[in-house]
Subunit: 237 residues, 2 copies
DNA sequence: GAGTGGTCTAGACCACAAC
DNA sequence: TTGTGGTCTAGACCACTCC
């Protein structure tokens, strides 16, 4: 693996385990360069990653300040799968696969998944139970060019794990949109709405390293079970 | 200004103005280095910024692909002020300052603004009208260590412009949390709720370059007037 | 003045894509 | 084979903080 990534992961672990005790600062870039036996520019690449991901803040003339609140954050920022999220929260969760099929792309899918009219695509509909209540409805559409096979077992576990580990698909970036809408009949049918008259809807388009669009997802959350946390850095002016 | 930032801004402009006509790719790093008369590493810093902000995607062995959908996005990602947002959307907007005062920090403010008990802080409450409907309620609290003076006129215009241009406060990063809650009596009092029984609440903590926390904001949106768009890049494994 | 992070360079080698 | 982006280096100079 690349040096700067190895060092980044090592530093993440040391920050999380409070390796430097109650230190509020990382060692200086020169010290780290000596310790890891790399050039200072390589250390700086690792530190840039730490900063982007909210672990540290670099202060000119002083050093790299360790940001402490990171670990208390709900990890929904960026591209995170439902399973990662649930396990990190220690919640009792369960996934119900309502549908796993191949459908012909309609107009919405043509533009959001970049496929031709009537081209067959994977459709997966899943209900997520948290603490025994059905509160999230996930509707995923995958481009079959990248995912030839898909099974109910994979959908019950984690599609992302399958994509990353088995198929080694290089997921790179995503566009996400969050709005509030009224429940559909499908929501009422498949979820425990408990009288709620709104749904938080997250629509995502997920891209691979080579900029090809391979997934479109609609994730519908009961509003009382929704929380989104974001860490944003002002970058470039 | 730094070379890589100058080049970054130049490239942003050229991408937005489709300077390279219908080109789907940027010139290669070596070509750009020659053109701007800088080293390749400097060009790479500019391109990294473009990638982080969703303008391009770099593909190994091929080049830098220009991502086209950027310009259609609602610009609420990252740290954006209400005024930036409204003007970019060409909406008729108006700000009403309901309150501008100095209050003693309660427990919530102590932890969210990092001040001592009963320390005086700025409190600003503003109603935002979009197309003549009062749909957003913004409650801002500022640490007075960084903002000695604040006037109604500044609040009616843009506090952020004042902070960045007049006070030259180096805003650096923010933690943002989005949840859905029921309207408060204050919401009902100051907004046109039009029968909506939910509010989208965005709570933000804004930090300066030196990691000091200087602003805590609660922005309460009527759900039908809320939209959040996020561009997320998978970074560091 | 000593130490810190911020920028910039010229050059090297690599993995990958296209021809 | 040629060109692309990805990594890494050693060294330089700067602005800033702290003492």
């Amino acid at each position: 693996m690349e040096k700067y990534l190895t060092i980044y992961h090592d530093l993440v672990e040391k920050i999380n385990k409070a390796h430097w005790k109650d230190a509020k600062m990382l060692p200086s870039e020169n010290e780290l360069a000596l310790h890891y036996e790399v050039s200072r520019e390589t250390i700086r690449k690792s530190l840039d990653l730490l900063a982007q991901n909210g672990f540290i803040q670099k202060v000119r003339g002083k050093g790299s300040v360790i940001l402490d609140s990171k670990k208390f954050d709900f990890p929904v920022s960026g591209i995170v799968s439902f399973k990662e999220l649930a396990t990190s929260l220690d919640l009792q969760v369960e996934t119900i696969v309502n549908e796993l099929s191949i459908v012909e792309a309609n107009e919405i899918l043509q533009s959001n998944l970049g496929v031709r009219a009537k081209e067959p695509v994977w459709k997966v509909v899943r209900t997520r139970k948290i603490d025994n209540e059905k509160v999230i409805l996930d509707k995923d559409y995958f481009n079959r060019d990248f995912i030839p096979y898909l099974t109910k077992e994979v959908c019950e576990n984690s599609v992302y794990e399958y994509l990353e580990n088995e198929l080694e698909l290089p997921i790179s970036y995503a566009r996400k949109e969050i709005v509030v809408e009224e429940p559909t009949v499908e929501d009422e049918d498949l979820l425990d709405l408990a009288g709620h008259s709104n749904m938080v809807v997250i629509r995502s388009m997920v891209y691979l390293d080579d900029t090809s669009l391979f997934q479109y997802t609609e994730s519908r959350h009961r509003p009382d079970k929704f929380k989104f946390v974001d860490f944003a850095r002002r970058v470039g002016n």
